[in-house]
Every structure is written in C-alpha cells, then in structure tokens.
C-alpha cells in the first residue's frame, strides 16, 4: 500500500501525452509547466502522509 501510494506521483509524470498541452494556462504558465510544478508539492504531501501513517 505504502509503495503504491509513493509511486503514484512518479507514474503521473509518465502521462506525457496527457500533459504535453498548452491549455489551460495558469498565471500565464502553459499546462505542461504548471502541471509538473504542482506535482512537486503533491508528491511531497503524499510522502508526508505515508510518513505520518507509519509513525502511528
């Protein structure tokens, strides 16, 4: 379960044809760029949740 959760963000980066598009833009960033940038804190959040789950 922990392994599945932690691989999710990496698997998302594989979906290149899905995010290799310009629209919708966010603050002027084409989708390609802001999707990958937003994925960074999301990945960190997943790791944090797994960490909290293990601590309990």
């Amino acid at each position: 379960m922990k392994y599945l959760l932690l691989t999710l963000p990496s698997l998302a980066t594989l979906l290149v044809p899905f995010y290799n598009v310009a629209e919708p833009r966010l603050f002027g960033f084409p989708f390609f760029y802001w999707f990958l940038i937003v994925l960074i804190p999301l990945s960190s959040l997943v790791t944090y949740l797994v960490y909290k789950g293990e601590k309990r």
Partner: protein, 516 residues
C-alpha cells in the same frame, strides 16, 4: 585580461568568496571531532540532524546543473530541458522507500560507502571494486559540470584570457576549495551549504519576481520564448526540434532521461555520503518530505532559460544564457551577488563529490586491494589525498574535453551510475541475485551504455534502440540490459557466497540506540 572587468560585480563576488573560504577553514572546529579519522573527516561523525542534512543533501543535488546546465537546454531547445522536473519528482519517493533501509544496515555494520554494503551483502570483492570504480568514474564529469558553471560566471564578470590563462581564476578558486576540504572534510561544505542556499534563495526570489515584473508577467515570457524557439526551429529548416511543448519524437527521450537520471542520482558516492551522514533513518524520511522544496526552485530556475529568450539574450554558448540574463536585468552589485551564489553553489557539491569519491577509493580500492592492514588514521590520510586527485582529474576533464551542453556531462555520469542500482537497491530487498551475475550485468550495462554514448564528435545522451523511431536515454537502455543479464545468470548460477547481513539489520534502529 581584465580590461572589460565589471569592477563592482567582481568586488562583491570576491567578498563572498572570501567569506566562504574563511567558513571552510573554521568548519574544522564545528561539532568537534578527530579529523584524522575517516568517519569524522568523511562523514562528519554521522551526527548531522534533519536540518544539516537538508542543506547538505540539497546542496549536492542542486548545483551548477540546476542554475546553468538545465536553463541552457530550455534556452536552446525548449520544453525538452524540463525533464529535470519529473526527474526530481521521482527521486524522493525512491529515497523514502530505500535509503532508511540502507542507512540502518550501514549503521549496524559500519559501512561508509555503497561498495562496503555490496561487499557485505554479496561477499564478492570484484563486485565491490566495480561499484567503487563506477562511483569515482562518474563523479569526474559531474564535478567537471560544476567547473563549467563556475567558469561561465567568471567569464561573464568580464575576465578574459587566452589559452591556459583563461582558466586561471577557476584554478585559484579550486585550489582554495581543495585546501579547506583537505583540512575540514565534510564539515566544510556542510557549513558553507547554509550560506550558499540562503544566497541562491535570494537570487532566485529576486529573479522570479523582478524579471517577470519587468517583462509583463509569465504569460508574456512564455509567449516571447515560444516565438523565439519557433524562429530557431524555422531557421534550422525544422531539423532541430525546439518549442514550448514536446514534439512527438521528444516524448520518449524526455521521460527516459527523467527516469534514468532518477535511478542514477542517489547512487553517486556523494549522495551516499550525504545520506549516510544523517543521524537516523527518520532524518532521511523527513528529508524526503522536505527536499522537494528545492525541486520547485529548480523548476523556476529552469524557466530562466525562457526569461533569457524573452529579454533577447543572444549567446553562442547556451551555458551563458543565465549569466547574461542576470547581467542584463540586475544592477552591478547584485550581479556580483548572484554570480557568487552560482559559483559557491558549484563549489559545495564539488567538495562533497570529491569527499564521496575519496571515501570510496580509500575504503574499497586502496584498503582491500593494496594495503589491507590500514588503520583509521591512515585511511583518513589516503582519503584526503584522493580528494585532491579527483579534483585535479575533473579540472583536466574541463581543460581537455570540449562539450556543447554541460548537461551531457551529467547524463554521461548518470548512465554509468545507474549500473550499480541493481546491486545496491535490489540488494536491500532480496539476496536472490548472485554477486557474479550482478557483476556480469554491470559489465554489460557499462559497455553497452558507453558504446551508445560515444561518438567521435561528442558524448551523446540518447540513442535510437533496435532501429526504432524514438530515442531512449542510454542510461535506461544499459540498465535494462544490466538487469536482464543479472537475472538470467542468477537463475543459472548457484548462490552460495557469504552474506554478512540478516533481514533484521535492515529495520530501523530503536530510538534508544541512536547517537545524540
């Protein structure tokens, strides 16, 4: 030689450089330990908590690679260079899952390097040698990349020279670095990493706020960069693919570069050094959560390649894009500050890398193969000398191996480095693989990868496999060949070699046993 020197910027630059030099020497007294012991010199006594580790690991993962090499690819090619972002997304979950296990077994068995662990796990000293050799070999082009970064900013200050003279400031900077690394060991870059990170943060925040404000926002930057890239592609007769989005042919190389770099980066001796000097497995887990903060920065710094296009920076060498962007938008004194941040950002990882390679050389090549009866003091002496030799090797690399993209140096090192992944990381979970089989797999990967990468003109990072229409990162192709060979031979060969580790050695240590 200095007729066109930017004096204000140079003064600030030298001021900061002197500051970190003093810090580098003072660091010998920090968390006092016996620097004649390899454990103290090379791993800081394994007493670094989450904060120091964060700065230290961040310091060696984000380097001139981030500030010079990646933006230069966005400047020259566009979206393709953004592979560095999925790459950094992949690293941390991998770190979280695997490295606490490695830390635990290394702590219990007193392993300082990946090769130590591989020897203990597989009882095969030739596999140990292969892992050590790979680490030292791959470190050299990576340090060379740092040197390229430093040289770009020194040149942008206005320093001009012919022939060997042109490398004079770089050589001076490097000698100073070598001296304080020699004296203070890992404590020097750990202490300087604080200053470096704060400087880089200031530089980056200024850049991502001030430059878009001047240019009319990120939308305008992307539009201008897109237009500039489209013009480049048109000028080349659409032979060169450049643009804000990936062309269909770039998709596979994009993602294999990301995954291949991700496999490789944690295998470098310096990454091991950074990780194993942590105080506990949990320190590593906390860092896996916190380190992505650097990745966000990396993404924003990468976009400086586009800012340079939008500002209208025209440079022949794409590595000059960021320095010239800084020159064109900031006042002189702040230019000096930013350039110092970049140069120090190259020094810290160069120091950590040379220490990592030196630890490995001493423990896994010199001691087992040349002088087995060595004590801890003698180990430290050899490691200190080796840290100098690795740096000289890297300096030679830059003087004699011309490269168009500094990034290709890192990708070359990464291709080699990924070949020890099966031995190290698979080994944390299973002892099914045979040591000789892993060695054969490693050899297959190294030969195939090097053969694919080498062309008479330059090292190339990607290659079309089996006549397919798309290119794959050599690191991935070689890695797959490596795993295939290792798996087939492991199924065939009897697996009777000694294993010094037991399943429970990989579990976290009870809190009471952790050093304060």
């Amino acid at each position: 030689m200095i007729d066109h020197l930017n004096w204000a910027a140079t003064a600030v630059f030298i001021g900061f450089f002197l500051l970190v030099t003093v810090l580098g020497f003072v660091a010998a007294h920090w968390k006092r330990g016996d620097l004649n012991d390899l454990n103290e010199w090379g791993l800081g006594g394994r007493r670094f908590g989450a904060w120091v580790s964060w700065f230290l690991i961040g310091g060696d993962l984000y380097t001139a690679y981030t500030v010079i090499a990646v933006p230069s690819v966005l400047y020259a090619v566009g979206a393709y260079g953004f592979f560095a972002v999925p790459y950094t997304i992949i690293i941390y979950p991998l770190l979280y899952l695997t490295f606490p296990r490695l830390w635990a077994v290394a702590h219990r068995k007193n392993y300082l390097t990946a090769s130590d662990y591989v020897l203990g796990r597989y009882g095969n000293r030739w596999l140990e040698l292969a892992v050590a050799f790979t680490g030292i070999l791959a470190t050299m082009p990576y340090i060379a990349l740092q040197l390229v970064g430093m040289e770009r900013v020194i040149e942008a200050l206005g320093f001009e020279g012919r022939g060997l003279m042109s490398h004079l400031p770089l050589t001076v900077a490097f000698v100073i670095l070598a001296l304080y690394t020699y004296r203070s060991g890992l404590r020097a870059p750990a202490m300087i990493a604080f200053v470096k990170d704060i400087m880089i943060y200031i530089f980056v925040i200024a850049a991502i706020v001030v430059i878009p404000a001047k240019l009319g926002g990120y939308g305008a930057i992307f539009d201008a960069a897109g237009a500039a890239l489209a013009k480049k592609a048109a000028l080349s007769g659409s032979k060169a693919a450049a643009g804000l989005l990936l062309t269909p042919k770039q998709i596979v190389p994009f993602i294999t570069l990301a995954f291949g770099s991700g496999l490789a980066v944690l295998m470098y001796p310096h990454a091991m050094t950074g990780m194993l000097s942590a105080r506990s497995g949990n320190t590593i887990r906390i860092n896996a959560v916190a380190l992505p903060a650097y990745s966000v920065m990396l993404a924003l710094i990468a976009l400086m390649g586009y800012m340079a296009l939008a500002v209208g920076v025209h440079v022949k060498n794409p590595q000059d894009a960021v320095p010239h962007l800084i020159l064109s938008v900031f006042p002189d004194w702040f230019v000096g500050f930013c350039f110092a941040a970049i140069a120090i950002g190259a020094l810290v990882p160069a120091a950590i890398m040379s220490i990592g390679a030196a630890n490995t050389f001493t423990r896994n090549i010199w001691k087992p193969f040349i002088h087995p009866a060595m004590n801890a003091q003698e180990e430290a002496v050899i490691a200190k000398l080796m840290s100098l030799i690795v740096k000289v090797g890297a300096l030679a690399f830059i003087l004699f191996v011309p490269t168009k993209f500094a990034l290709d140096l890192q990708l070359l090192g990464g291709m080699w480095m990924a070949q020890i992944f099966p031995a190290v990381i698979f080994g944390l979970y299973t002892r099914w693989f045979n040591g000789w089989a892993l060695l054969a797999g490693w050899a297959a990967g190294m030969v195939i990868g090097t053969w694919l990468a080498w062309t008479p003109a330059a090292w190339v990072p990607v290659h079309n496999v089996f006549g397919s229409s798309f290119a794959v990162y050599n690191g991935i192709t070689a890695f797959l060949a490596n795993v295939l060979v290792a798996a087939v031979l492991s199924a065939l060969l009897p697996n009777t070699a000694r294993d010094d580790t037991r399943a429970e050695d990989y579990a976290d240590l009870p809190d009471a046993q952790l050093a304060e």
